[in-house]
Symmetry: C2
Subunit: 268 residues, 2 copies
DNA sequence: CAACGTTGTATTGTCATTAATACAAATAAA
DNA sequence: TTTATTTGTATTAATGACAATACAACGTTG
């Protein structure tokens, strides 16, 4: 685990530690300013001052806050902002290619079997259709970035091997298999890390994750890939630029595809 | 609190309850199938069987699982899926207008003061510029949906009143104030609910939230609004349709603006 | 029927956490 | 300087969640 490893896994101190760390990373507490006193924190988090104390000690050990006796705890400059990955949705997949050069993928599991209920219906597969299920962890800069579960119809998946999956991005393999990728639908929400995912990503269970589900279809509307991606929230961001355009009488927000205002789209 | 209210707020049982509920809602456990045994669950979550037991009882009370002595616990059909709000990014703001009719906004705080560091730099405001800070909770169908914090430069914000904010969408007020909204930048990630946000949204602290930050600029590139929105992950989803298009030699994913394949973009 | 796995129930000891202190040391504000 | 607030440290007792265990009741499977 990255930080606060000495705190017991399921304990209250760790819970407070995680909440405080999350708040700090989100800029809820302004940098340089001082945190509320230990007594105040104990009240807001409904724990004793001793518990808050252990959480703050862990944060101080991580270099996220400075503790000064007599004064209080102050927020340190976020030195961790350096290693953040962000993605523009419109270039999401090509970007992962680009990233493929600086990232590693670890294949956790690989099997063929009947498609789960939700996956089959989302892809528009007949019931009981067999799919290849692969679970991978993508590492960026040596540290875990995402937990990926992909489902591909067996007929397509038989065109590449297990070894291919560990090295080549999936969409490349699909194209190589003659699949004419056409449309995709994405759904983004937030989740908590379950124990198994947490272990694979080397974080605490209950850490916030960005959950992205994507169904990719070919020209005939057949589902060729179902992706369930879980991104570490403190490492990954989904960025998008919008521009207001007139469309008939209504005005809409149209996404800006190409020219990015700030060029830090790929890797900061 | 919606469910599992009898479980102690910071205790392990509630933590397991939240993780299990989150897993169930994400379809990690297939509907109709049976959950792992209490002993197995106790091992994976690193707690005693008694703790798992209390979590399962709470889930059963919520109607999410069925417990049958001798057999095991089975996943119930997700009857809650009915009340889900999703948004297509390209129509995000107009849609909130539409929603404005069926949703209520509760104004939690309203004040003028110097802009926080991160907000000022993101908006491109001179240091120490005064902004109006408003915190609102948006209710959908009587239940909390999002926790919104908005920052607007004082010169613009003086054009509307506190009462306006409680009734009219902010972007409307801006347009009424003569602001020519032009571009926006959004950044999406995941977070945990802090105690104060959790209380306002009527969920447990540590619940997963979708965090959206948006900077809106006018034609001259001046920041006119900074929005920090926290959406309840189990109620809100960000949906997007993409289409593969050739762009020079590279192929990109272009967002589909208008015609939606499945019309359930607004409110399901 | 018999064996096995599962939930229901009860018991008991342990340990983390809380609660209620108290006081020293450092800092900040009056 | 004086006062108030903060962290650092220590102590003690009570509470309650938790772990570990055992066994009964029930269901499933063979």
């Amino acid at each position: 685990m990255s930080g606060g490893a000495n705190l017991p896994e399921g304990g209250k101190a760790r819970r407070v530690y995680l909440l405080l760390r999350d708040a700090l990373q989100n800029g809820a507490y302004v940098a340089g300013a001082s945190l509320p006193g230990e007594q105040r924190l104990a009240e807001t988090y409904s724990v004793s001052r001793a518990t808050v104390r252990r959480a703050l000690d862990a944060l101080a050990a991580d270099g996220m806050v400075d503790k000064r006796t007599g004064s209080g705890s102050t927020v340190r400059a976020p030195a961790n902002a350096a290693s953040t990955v962000s993605a523009d949705f419109s270039t999401l997949i090509p970007q992962l290619t680009l990233m493929g050069q600086s990232t590693t993928a670890r294949l956790l599991s690989f099997a063929y079997g009947p498609a789960p209920e939700g996956v089959a219906s989302a892809m528009g597969l007949p019931g009981g259709e067999r799919v290849q299920t692969a679970v991978r962890v993508r590492l960026f800069d040596g540290k875990p970035l995402s937990y990926l579960t992909t489902y591909v119809p067996e007929s397509i998946a038989r065109n590449y091997t297990e070894a291919d999956l560990a090295t080549t991005p999936l969409y490349r393999l699909l194209e190589r298999s003659g699949v004419k990728v056409d449309t995709a639908h994405q759904s983004v929400t937030a989740t908590l890390a379950s124990p198994d995912v947490a272990e694979a990503l080397d974080v605490s269970a209950g850490s916030p994750l960005l959950s992205l589900r994507r169904v990719v279809r070919d020209k005939d509307g057949r589902g060729v890939e179902y992706l369930w991606a879980l991104y570490l929230a403190d490492v990954f961001r989904l960025e998008m630029n919008l521009s207001r355009v007139a469309q008939g009488s209504e005005r809409h927000w149209a996404p800006v595809i190409g020219g990015r205002a700030n060029g830090e789209t790929t890797i900061q």
